[in-house]
Subunit: 194 residues, 2 copies
DNA sequence: GTCTATAATTCGATAGAC
DNA sequence: GTCTATCGAATTATAGAC
């Protein structure tokens, strides 16, 4: 029935996904201001006006492109040492296979919606895992989760954005070996490293 | 002798410093793109054209405003535990008393000259201190210094830029107690925390 | 559903008067 | 040494044809 005369009917949903994909790449590579709608549309092979028509504004486009799921595995049963190693390794892999985290961290310096999404990932994904692993709740669990986030995001910042030479050159296993004891320390709590 | 007829002679050097001060604040608060020359000039109480005349371009203005000295104290003689505590405390104080680090970290996401300045601070100030404290040289010292930087910058990122609630709420002494064992761990090297 | 054309801002930078 | 006026470029966003 719904078959009137629709002239150039290409798949609208596929176009949306192509735009979102290009947007993530551009935001990740250039930050918010320098990632122009023109450039994003060019990468996606569509007209710039289409981008506005689909997403309303540049701000809304970013919000749509920067939704993120850490996809944390269930580590509830593991000893803290193994869980910490898995956590660092998972974070490195997840970062490198998906542009979204890079886009979020880059744009967070200038755009409040990126900050809000990062805070949501922290509260909804990182904090619950830390609660489960540490057996703590409330302020204590929140502080431990915050410290874990400070080290993981600091690692991403220095390795992938600043490209600090020694960190950019280290391989995954070396990083896991060096950093995971720190994560374990934060999960255990207290002031000493045991 | 040099006393021709100079009409509105206010102090040019003071004007330069006023502009630099306003620039640091704006870059720190808004990032590079949103910190417009017009806004900086407005804060400094001067004409926008003067800013260009004095510094040549926005890019050169940023370079001039974002020069940074960590002013690290000499910790060479201290035991690692005390040196680590002093390091974390000094970093927190230095961050909060000077807008320059905030400007550098914010702008680093989009501007290569900010990254270059941060890398220079790392190579010229952090790495030498880590060498002296750890007694290491070459790649080993560089990696340890890089890991120290990852935790310190991650702390700044999550506390001052993202304002992650638990981290933003913690006071200096609590942060020193929680984080300094990590710095000590990185300074000592190895994979375990002793 | 897609594209052309353009409106409406905003900003960096310049020229020149005072 | 400082300010007025403005240029030229780039951008987001809209209106409307096809």
């Amino acid at each position: 029935m719904t078959r009137k005369t629709e002239p150039p009917r290409r798949d609208a949903d596929a176009t949306r996904h192509t735009i979102l994909r290009a947007a993530r790449q551009r935001f990740a590579a250039d930050g918010y201001a320098r990632a122009t709608i023109r450039a994003i549309a060019g990468d996606a092979g569509v007209d710039p006006a289409l981008v506005i028509r689909y997403f309303g504004s540049k701000e809304l486009l970013f919000a749509a492109a920067a939704r993120f799921d850490l996809r944390l595995p269930d580590l509830a049963g593991l000893p803290l040492r193994e869980a910490s190693r898995a956590l660092v390794r998972h974070f490195l892999v997840r970062w490198e296979e998906d542009d979204t985290l890079m886009a979020l961290l880059r744009v967070a310096s200038t755009n409040d919606s990126a900050v809000a999404e990062l805070l949501a990932v922290f509260s909804g994904q990182v904090k619950p895992l830390v609660q489960a692993l540490s057996g703590q709740e409330g302020r204590e669990a929140a502080e431990r989760a915050g410290l874990v986030a400070s080290q993981m995001l600091g690692l991403a910042l220095t390795r992938y954005i600043l490209r600090l030479p020694p960190l950019a050159a280290m391989d995954h296993e070396t990083l896991v070996a060096r950093v995971s004891p720190v994560i374990e320390h934060y999960l255990r709590g207290g002031d000493r490293i045991a």
